[in-house]
Symmetry: D2
């Protein structure tokens, strides 16, 4: 299987549709991004990254950061994290507060906003918020093999200024006594993690541990236990795209996590990671072209976990 | 990989815990089943079925029938089925009516009761209910390679007598105009499909098409299109166990569907199907021992789709 | 205060607007009613009934029947009725099933459909459904001083045929074990009580006990205890018009109960009862012209309980 | 009718039960109040105030302040206020956020917390928050005929520190664009209005306009239009006690508004206002002894609007 060929073919087959979908516009920094950007990066066990298109330009990874913070929070808290956040699909729009009330302030999973906020709270632990952000950044620079990985402070500020819904969720959980740190501290980390800016290449690299049972397959450094990695992959497949997760599972067939910046990170256990980027979103907030690129790659590679051709390749 | 050995080892490792969990008691016929029954059957591409324990005694497959009816309804209706029922996880208890109201009588997926009822309605189509049941039975006898497969009429009657919640769901959808057939006709099929009685061996056989892109790998007969089969597998992984689907996905790692009779059917695309049976349930209505048996098999075989060891075996 | 003059003036002031609003059309018998019908009847302590317009033509009283069945159920069950149904406003559309799930099958009050169904169940008690209907009818003929009061069987049949939502509610409660009688028995009474046909004159007469602490002020016959009557009046003011109760309370200012047949029954404790009829409804299912007639009468008489002029007249 | 006698008798009849119920403890200043305090003050048209017990000791009026802020907001905004907040009973616990989501950030009525917060926002208008508080205080000093009426700043601070749920509600509405002022500005006024401290005597005096169509019956000064006053009375009867409003309406039978400080303010249109105070609350947050005192007064005076004896006294 010539992965570079598949990546190139996929990019070329979809290039004419660059600009489709609707970019997020709720903050200026996202609205200003060139909507025709389109990049695909596939990282494999060997550390080789197969790229096509805009794979060396940083973009705001937004909710994709939830994957990395979850991995770090699990390493800090272990199973105790699951007392604070559930592990089941949500079945409601990503920012719904109804289920949160019904379930007494315990979010359904770490990938809806409320669940990500409480995960961030546990990730902070007893450090200060700034130290937590510094640690997260250092980790990503290490995993992404690039010290240039940083936070777009302008995006972070905008997130905070427009973050009424997230503030509401955080105070709601605080009212149930679910947060260990002050609400504004938790949010200050949360808004900064959403503003992490990575290139497709950096992102695919940084996530390789997901596909290889928690170890970076190149450096053999362990990032996450085998079991926790399996958990994260399961959560990505079941809950990685809010109310569009079922559709994504069918179309693509492997774990993924989308962000409203137009990025999608996918993990194909035992095989590869993929980062795609195209700013236009579908109605559920997932990159339209990105999801199609992943579906094409799934089709060409037979990597969908729901396809019986699995062992024919 | 010696599958028979894995099956035997798994059965032996768990045999002492037969009787754990709580069998369904809402109808006499289920309450009377010997709670220590325990069977495992693994069917593979060659048609060989690896068995251990009580694999030749029929049990009430209950909600596992939803998988077969979904496959048949898709063959009859095609994509139009998805106008009547969604394809996303539910995030509520399996019989919740709240989401149904919010979404105007369109159930979230075919594996919650409301979604299964509307799927049954479409499966009936313009046939009478008795003809629909006869067709379903014939199909299962064919796929399960056994003309003895039948319906436990006593269970069916009990289901109808105790079926107030399902009646409520059906009338609720009827009020939104979501059913094509009279409510009682739909329910009469639904209650009978739940009362289908199969052995583990028959069940694993009958489901082989799920693991092989829609074809019976032995007879090469096509039961379901490749794409629809992929869809069913995705739905099983994401929604096959109600509010326990996330946990099951992590523990087991391949598509499955549970029934309150204590059976679980699993599909491992490209590899095998597994039917397990043990009447004691966990709090979400999934067979306790059955789920553990599947987790052990997943561990031994490396079949979890979330594990990076996938290609090492 | 010349009540006849007030009634006449009100009728004349609104006569040009007959036909406004939207008549209920969900069953043929209601859709066929002449939409320009308009009647006002005010019954007072002396038994005198002040009438204007179409006050001698029977109409389908629909949900107004809930008031009479509640009074009868309270007489049969006493305080035990309140174990089965609540006494608080609902805050949701009249047929919502959400709150019913949250509160485990106990409806919020006797005037939403679910609450009326369980009230009917308790009214039936251990009689058969037909005997219960016969008793209700006899009571209404007595209170309404007219043996012609009857049930429109065609309406009752149509109610049953189109009653999917009410069936859903009833089976839902049955699933929680909230009904003492078989669902279809309860519904057969419920659909017939909704089909009771009374004239404005009969209706105002039959309800006089509500305004006079439970006694018919003419015959001095006690229909309901003083305390229960007070309870019914309170419920009518707080919950008599579904999600339009707050508006009605402000506009009119005394207890009332509307029906989708276009009737409204009002009780002004210590003073009078009023029955109005005009088929066109507002968006909450209350007679548009009927509510305006009551508001005008409230304005002229100073009978609003929220107005400080109360003692000036 | 000797009102002073009724007030004295009521106080004496209930004096032995002082201390019953559970005082609010969520902030220290409330938890420290002597739970045996018990006062009743009835103000009439002439300006005479009939008192018994602790009627000259200020207490935290908490949610009773919502009545005064509503009156002021209506005077500022007129009918436009009703675009921002509904006028129907809520049917959920007082701080529920579910209905708020369903209805896109528009609270059901001005007496649930979310509705009071948006009412406060409109009351502030384009003044600064401090000026709004100063104006509110001046108004209450004028209506309560006492310049000593003030705000307990310690209570206000505690409210703010423990106000996570209210912050959540406010940010939730802000996310829907429902607030004109910054969230923290609105809350700073809201927490201070809740901390208003009045005696029973001052409170009964300050509210007299409610019972007399918007005018202070002593000074003849107009505080609120006739129609708006009627609206406020209707809202108090239907929504003044959260999920206990139906019970209160039956037991007492006239408009009232409770606060978790143990006060209840009642308005009997055309007759009087009553302020009662006893810190122990029932499970819905209404003063237990206070509600019983009002029920006894209603019984003795015949002032319940649901009783047919109305004109017999």
């Amino acid at each position: 299987m010539d992965l570079q060929q598949i990546v190139d073919d996929t990019w070329n087959a979809l290039a004419d549709e660059r600009g489709c979908g609707t970019p997020a516009r709720y903050i200026p920094a996202l609205a200003e991004v060139d909507p025709t950007k389109f990049g695909i990066a596939v990282a494999t066990r060997s550390g080789e990254v197969h790229c096509a298109g805009d794979t060396d330009e940083p973009f705001s990874i937004q909710s994709i950061s939830k994957v990395f913070v979850l991995a770090q929070a699990l390493e800090r808290e272990g199973l105790a994290l699951w007392d604070a956040v559930g592990r089941e699909p949500s079945g409601n729009a990503f920012n719904s507060i109804v289920q949160l009330e019904r379930e007494k302030g315990i979010p359904r999973n770490p990938f809806i906003n409320s669940g990500a906020i409480v995960t961030t709270d546990r990730f902070i632990g007893d450090r200060g918020p700034d130290e937590a952000v510094a640690d997260l950044l250092a980790k990503l620079q290490n995993m992404g093999r690039d010290d240039d990985i940083g936070i777009d402070e302008r995006v972070a500020r905008s997130e905070s200024e427009t973050g009424a819904r997230n503030r509401s969720l955080a105070y709601f959980m605080a009212d149930f006594g679910r947060l260990l740190n002050p609400v504004e501290d938790v949010l200050s980390v949360y808004f900064r993690q959403c503003a992490l800016a990575l290139t497709c290449r950096q992102l695919a690299d940084a996530a390789l541990f997901l596909a290889f049972d928690g170890c970076d397959p190149v450096t053999r450094e362990r990032m996450c236990s085998r079991e926790r990695t399996r958990r994260i992959n399961a959560l990505m497949l079941l809950c990685g795209h809010y109310d569009n997760s079922g559709e994504f599972a069918f179309d693509v067939g492997f774990p993924g996590k989308s962000g409203v910046g137009g990025g999608i990170l996918a993990s194909i256990p035992g095989r590869a990671t993929i980062a795609v980027w195209s700013p236009g979103l579908n109605r559920w907030g997932t990159s339209l072209l990105g999801a199609r690129a992943l579906a094409q790659i799934a089709d060409r590679t037979g990597w969908s976990v729901f396809s019986g051709r699995l062992d024919e390749i």
